[in-house]
C-alpha cells in the first residue's frame, strides 16, 4: 500500500520497514495500515468496540473505556484458552481460528493468534 518511493511521505529522513514481500513501506504508513484496518472494522454497522490484546492478556489497543476493556479481556482470554485447548485435545493437528459468542444483546468475536488476541463486539442492527 505504501509504495515507498511513490508514497507522499517520500523525501527526507524516512525510516522504513520491510514487509513479508520484501517491499519497503514507511514506518508511519505501516502504522497507518494497521490503524486503517482497525478503523475499518470499528466502522462496521453495529460494532460497539474492538480490543487488541497481547498473549498475556494485557490490552494493547482498545476503543472502549479502561474498566470495560479489562473486564472483557480477563474473561475472554480465559475462555479462548479453554476453547483452544478443547479443540486441540480433540485433534492435536487442529487449532482454533475464530470464536463467536452470540448473546441476546450482542455478538462477541474473538480471533486468537500465537502472540495476540483480537476482540470485536457487535450488536445486531435492529
Amino acid at each position: 500500500m505504501c509504495d515507498y518511493q511513490k508514497c507522499k511521505h517520500w523525501g527526507g529522513n524516512q525510516d522504513y520497514t520491510s514487509t513479508r514481500n520484501k517491499r519497503k513501506t514507511h514506518l508511519c504508513c505501516d502504522m497507518a495500515e494497521v490503524e486503517d484496518t482497525l478503523k475499518r472494522i470499528q466502522g462496521y454497522n453495529g460494532v460497539i468496540g474492538s480490543i487488541v490484546v497481547n498473549a498475556e492478556g494485557i490490552p494493547i489497543r482498545t476503543t472502549l473505556d479502561n474498566s470495560t476493556t479489562v473486564q472483557y479481556v480477563g474473561l475472554l482470554h480465559q475462555l479462548t484458552m479453554k476453547a483452544r485447548s478443547t479443540i486441540r485435545d480433540i485433534d492435536p493437528q487442529n487449532d482454533l481460528t475464530f470464536l463467536r459468542i452470540r448473546s441476546k444483546k450482542h455478538e462477541i468475536m474473538v480471533a486468537p493468534d500465537k502472540e495476540f488476541l483480537m476482540i470485536v463486539i457487535q450488536s445486531p442492527t435492529e
Binding site: R40, G46, G57, I58, R61, T97, A111, E126
Partner: protein, 871 residues
C-alpha cells in the same frame, strides 16, 4: 464277656417292655419278669446251679424243670426258696424256667428267676446272638472303620420333652376376671379424704434370719459381644477470619503500547485476522440469524377476527338547541382528567361586517364554552361565559380547573371551574344520582370568567392560538428558560393576527408586590368581593394583566411582519406517550393560589439547558416561520427586541390553519393549509419532507393520531374526514368518511375515555360528533414508529440529495457558461491557404501508405510482385 453286656440287655428289655417310664430309673428296681431269688447252697446242689461252679458269669443261665421246682416246693413247703414265686411257677406255661446267675447283684440277689416265657426266650437268644455278633464285631474293630454319613432318623424321645413341658407355663384353669366399680351414687359426690387405718393391715417385709431360701436355680442368658472401647479425639478449631486481597490489572505504559503497535507481528496478525472479522461482521449485518420470523410475523397481524371495520363509527353527537343554533364550534378540547367530558367553544358564524351590524344583538347573546358529558346528551353540564367569542382555549396541564381562552377582540380570558368539578365528576357515574341530576338539570351553572387581560396591553387582533408552557420550566424576562420552582404551569403563549406572539404569566411581577402602598392596602383590604360567584383565583390579574414578553415577527428579506395564525413550540418534557411523565400530583404541593405566587427574581432563577426556544409559526399568508423567542437587548437603546426569524418557507398559498407536532416525534410538524398539508422536520431548513398534492376540497384542520405514529386526520370543507396513513399511501388518504354537511372546524382525539378511543369532530353548524376510532386505526404495530422514522429519514435524505443536486446543477451550469464565455473570447484561428492544405493532406496520405506497407510486410501478407507493381 464284658460286664457291659448284661446292662445293655437290661436296657433293651426295659425299652421293649416298659411303656411307662420309671421315674428316677434306679438300677436296683427289678422288672416284673425278673424275680431275684436267694438260693441256699442246698437248693443250689439240688438243682445243680451252684454259684461259680455250674453257673458262672459267662454262663449264667440254667434251665430248671418246673416239676422239680414244684416238687421242691412240696417237699420243703415254706422253707423252699421258691416259695415266693410258687404262684408264678404253677402258672408257668412251659416246663422249664430260666434261672440266671446274677453275679453282679444287679437285682439285689445272686440269682433271679425269669418269670415269663418271652423274657426267657429273649435271654436265651440274646447271649447267643451276642456271642454270634461278638465275633464279627471283633473282626470289624480290627479293620478301619468306614465313615458313614449319618442317616436321618426320626426323632426318638429320650424323655427330654417331659422336662420342657414341665418348665413351660400353661394355664391350669381359665383366667378369672373381676370388675370393681363404686356405686353410682358415689360418682360425682363430693369426696372427703381422711386418714384412716380401718380395715387396713400392714404387713411389711422383714428379714427373717431363721428362714432363708437359697436359690438353687437361676435363669441367665449370655450374649456374646465385641470388645468395646471408648476413645476420643480433638480437632483444631480454626477461627474463621475474613481476608481480602486487592489487585489491579496489568497494563502497558503508552510507550510499550506504541512499541507493540509498531511491531511486525502485530501487523501480520491484524491483516490475517481482519478478513475473518469482516466476514462475520458482514454476515451479521446482512441478516440476523437468530431472529424468529414466526413470532415476529404474528405481532403485526394483531387484528382479531370480527373487527374488520375500518370506518369511524358515530358514537354520540351533541347539539344544543339553545346555544348551538346558528353558531359554529371554533375549538374543542377534551377534559384532561375527567373522562367523558368535552368542552366546546361556540362562536357566531358572522363576518366582520355582519358583526358590526349586529353588534347590539351580539351583546345580548353572550357566547359560551359548553361542557358536554356523555351521560347527558341533551343538556350541557357547564357553561363558561366569555366576554366575546372565543376562538381557542386550553386546559391548564397542571391544574385542569384552570382554562385559558383567547377571544376575538384580542383579550385573553381565564376561568376557574374548581367549584363545579364535582358536578362534572358526578355526571360521570351516570345513573347513581338521578334525583340530584334532575334538580341540577334545570339550572345549568354558568361560570363567569375570572380574569381578562387588559385591552390596551394585549392583542389587537383576534387571538388565534393559545398554549400553556409546561410546568417544568418558565421563562425569564429575556425569554431564557429557567427552572420552574413552583411546579405548576404559570405561563402561556398566545398569538394573534396583529403579528406578535405574546407570553403571559399568571403571577404578579415582583415590582408590583414590593411597593409599600400595596402592602398596606392588602392588610387593610377586606377580602375582595365576589360578584357573580367568581372565584378569586385570578383577581390580581383582572383587567391589568399584561404580557411580559412580546415577540414580533418581522419578515425576512422584506419589510412588514408575519401574521401568525397557529404556532407550535417544542414540548420540552419527555415524550408523554412512551416516556416517563414528570411526577404529577404526587409531588406537587397544594397550589397556594396564583395570587400568592410571585415571579422570582432573575438572579435566583437557574437557566435550563436543553430547552429549545424555537417556535414554528404558521401565518396568514401560508408561510411557516421558524423563529426564536429569546429577546435580545439592543445595545443602543437598551430596549428588548426579538430576533428576526431564522427561516421561513412558503408552503401553502393560503392561510395555515394547523401547526401541530407529532406526539411521537418531537421534531415532526404537520401544517395544513387550504389545499393540502405538509410535514416538516425541525432542523431541515430546505423544505418540507412531505408535501401533499393539491386536493379538490379545501382542508380545514389537521390532527395527529395519539396512538399511531403514522396516522393523522384531515378535516375538509365539505364535512369529510380523511384518514392518512403514511405507511400505506402518501399520495392519497387511506380512508375518507363523511361526517357532516358543514365544514369541519376542529378534530381532537382522546384516549382517556376508558377503552373507547374517541375522536371529537366539530363542524360549522354547531354539532359536535363523537366518533369511535376502530381497532385498525388505533392499534399500532410494534415496528410502526421505527418504520415511520425511517420513512422520515428517507425523505430527509431525499431533500438533501435534491439540494446537493441543485448545487451541482448550478455549478455545472456556471461551468458551462464559463466555457461558453471562454469560447467566445478566444481569438479565431487564422485560415490556412488551400494549397498548403492540399500539400499537407498529400503528405499525410503518403505517410499512411508507407505505414500500411510496413504493417502488411510484418504480417507477411504482402508479396513482392504487388509491392513492385505499386511502386
Amino acid at each position: 464277656m464284658p460286664p457291659k453286656r448284661p446292662k445293655s440287655k437290661v436296657i433293651k428289655e426295659k425299652e421293649k417292655k416298659n411303656e411307662t417310664p420309671d421315674e428316677g430309673a434306679s438300677e436296683s428296681a427289678h422288672p416284673e419278669h425278673i424275680f431275684p431269688l436267694v438260693l441256699t447252697s442246698v437248693t443250689q446242689e439240688l438243682f445243680g446251679c451252684r454259684a461259680d461252679e455250674d453257673v458262672t458269669g459267662e454262663n449264667p443261665f440254667k434251665l430248671l424243670r418246673k416239676e422239680d421246682i414244684v416238687q421242691d416246693m412240696k417237699t420243703r413247703a415254706a422253707v423252699s426258696d421258691f416259695s415266693p414265686v410258687k404262684h408264678i411257677v404253677l402258672e408257668y406255661p412251659e416246663d422249664e424256667l430260666l434261672l440266671v446267675f446274677d453275679r453282679d447283684f444287679t437285682y439285689g440277689q445272686c440269682f433271679y428267676l425269669v418269670l415269663t416265657v418271652e423274657a426267657k426266650d429273649n435271654m436265651m437268644k440274646s447271649p447267643a446272638q451276642a456271642d454270634d455278633d461278638e465275633e464279627p464285631m471283633k473282626d470289624e474293630e480290627e479293620h478301619v472303620m468306614e465313615p458313614k454319613t449319618p442317616e436321618s432318623h426320626p426323632w426318638i424321645s429320650q424323655g427330654s420333652e417331659q422336662e420342657i413341658e414341665d418348665e413351660s407355663l400353661t394355664h391350669a384353669r381359665p383366667r378369672l376376671r373381676y370388675k370393681i366399680s363404686p356405686l353410682m351414687r358415689h360418682c360425682g359426690a363430693p369426696v372427703c379424704f381422711s386418714d384412716g387405718n380401718d380395715g387396713y393391715v400392714e404387713c411389711s417385709s422383714y428379714e427373717d434370719k431363721s428362714f432363708s431360701i437359697t436359690r438353687m436355680e437361676r435363669d441367665t442368658s449370655i450374649q456374646a459381644s465385641r470388645d468395646t472401647t471408648h476413645s476420643s479425639t480433638q480437632t483444631l478449631w480454626k477461627y474463621p477470619k475474613n481476608m481480602c486481597t486487592q489487585y489491579e490489572p496489568r497494563e502497558f505504559s503508552p510507550e510499550e503500547k506504541e512499541h507493540h503497535l509498531r511491531s511486525e507481528n502485530l501487523k501480520n496478525f491484524i491483516t490475517s485476522v481482519a478478513i475473518r472479522f469482516e466476514r462475520s461482521l458482514q454476515q451479521n449485518v446482512i441478516s440476523d440469524v437468530f431472529c424468529d420470523d414466526w413470532t415476529v410475523l404474528c405481532e403485526d397481524d394483531g387484528v382479531p377476527t370480527g373487527k374488520t371495520e375500518t370506518q369511524l363509527k358515530e358514537y354520540q353527537s351533541f347539539m344544543d338547541l339553545h346555544f348551538s343554533r346558528e353558531k359554529s364550534i371554533s375549538h374543542v378540547h377534551w377534559h384532561p382528567s375527567i373522562s367523558g367530558v368535552i368542552a366546546v367553544a361556540m362562536t357566531e358564524r358572522l363576518s366582520l361586517e355582519e358583526r358590526i351590524d349586529n353588534s347590539t344583538k351580539l351583546l345580548l347573546n353572550p357566547s359560551y364554552i359548553l361542557f358536554w358529558s356523555f351521560t347527558d346528551p341533551i343538556n350541557p353540564q357547564l357553561q363558561l361565559e366569555c366576554p366575546e367569542d372565543v376562538l381557542c382555549f386550553q386546559f391548564c396541564p397542571s391544574d385542569p380547573n384552570i382554562i385559558a381562552g383567547g377571544c376575538i377582540n384580542g383579550q385573553v380570558v381565564l376561568w376557574d371551574i374548581s367549584a363545579h368539578v364535582e358536578r362534572l365528576q358526578d355526571t360521570r357515574s351516570g345513573g347513581d344520582n338521578i334525583s340530584n341530576n334532575l334538580d341540577k338539570n334545570d339550572v345549568i351553572p354558568v361560570v363567569r370568567y375570572c380574569a381578562v387581560s387588559g385591552i390596551e396591553n394585549g392583542h389587537k387582533a383576534p387571538v388565534t392560538d393559545i398554549q400553556w408552557l409546561p410546568e417544568t420550566f418558565e421563562l425569564s424576562r429575556f425569554g431564557i428558560p429557567v427552572e420552574n420552582s413552583s411546579r405548576v404551569c404559570v405561563q402561556m403563549v398566545t398569538c394573534a393576527l396583529d403579528c406578535c406572539v405574546l407570553f403571559w404569566d399568571l403571577r404578579l411581577p415582583r415590582a408590583v408586590s414590593q411597593s409599600l402602598t400595596d402592602v398596606k392596602q392588602k392588610s387593610e383590604e377586606k377580602p375582595p368581593e365576589n360578584p357573580h360567584g367568581v372565584p378569586n383565583t385570578f383577581k390580581h390579574l383582572n383587567l391589568t394583566w399584561k404580557p411580559f414578553i412580546r415577540v414580533s415577527l418581522p419578515k425576512i428579506g422584506s419589510t412588514g411582519e408575519y401574521s401568525p395564525l397557529k404556532f407550535s413550540f417544542r414540548d420540552n418534557t419527555v415524550d408523554y406517550i412512551t416516556g416517563d411523565k414528570p411526577p404529577q400530583d404526587a409531588e406537587r404541593e397544594e397550589v397556594c393560589g396564583f395570587a400568592q405566587l410571585r415571579v422570582p427574581s432573575a438572579k435566583q432563577q437557574k437557566p435550563l439547558e436543553n430547552i429549545s426556544t424555537k417556535l414554528y409559526v404558521g401565518t396568514e399568508d401560508g408561510e411557516l416561520v421558524y423563529t426564536d423567542w429569546k429577546m435580545e437587548k439592543d445595545n443602543d437603546s437598551g430596549r428588548l427586541f426579538s430576533a428576526k426569524p431564522t427561516h421561513q418557507f412558503l408552503a401553502h398559498h393560503t392561510l395555515v390553519n394547523t401547526v401541530s407536532r407529532s406526539p411521537f416525534f418531537k421534531d415532526i410538524i404537520l401544517t395544513v393549509g387550504s389545499f393540502g398539508f405538509a410535514i416538516w422536520k425541525e432542523g431541515v431548513m430546505s423544505g418540507p419532507i412531505l408535501m401533499s398534492a393539491c386536493s379538490k376540497v379545501m382542508c380545514t384542520i389537521g390532527h395527529w393520531s395519539l396512538t399511531r405514529p403514522a396516522l393523522f386526520f384531515i378535516g375538509k370543507k365539505d364535512g369529510t374526514i380523511e384518514v392518512w396513513d403514511l405507511l400505506q399511501n402518501t399520495h392519497e388518504p387511506s380512508q375518507t368518511q363523511n361526517i357532516s354537511t358543514a365544514s369541519i372546524t376542529c378534530i381532537r382525539s382522546s384516549s382517556a375515555c376508558g377503552k373507547h378511543h374517541l375522536l371529537a369532530v366539530s363542524d360549522r353548524i354547531g354539532t359536535l360528533h363523537i366518533l369511535q376510532i376502530p381497532w385498525t386505526l388505533r392499534k399500532s404495530s410494534n415496528n410502526e414508529k421505527k418504520n415511520v422514522r425511517k420513512y422520515f429519514e428517507k425523505e430527509e435524505e431525499r431533500l438533501e440529495y435534491f439540494e446537493k443536486r441543485q448545487i451541482k446543477h448550478e455549478k455545472h451550469k456556471k461551468e458551462m457558461e464559463a466555457e461558453q464565455l471562454k469560447k467566445k473570447t478566444e481569438p479565431a484561428v487564422p485560415l490556412k491557404p488551400d494549397e498548403e492544405l492540399e500539400a499537407e493532406a498529400l503528405k499525410e496520405y503518403e505517410q499512411f501508405l508507407a505505414l500500411e506497407k510496413i504493417v502488411l510486410k510484418n504480417m507477411g501478407l504482402l508479396t513482392d510482385t504487388i509491392d513492385q507493381s505499386d511502386l
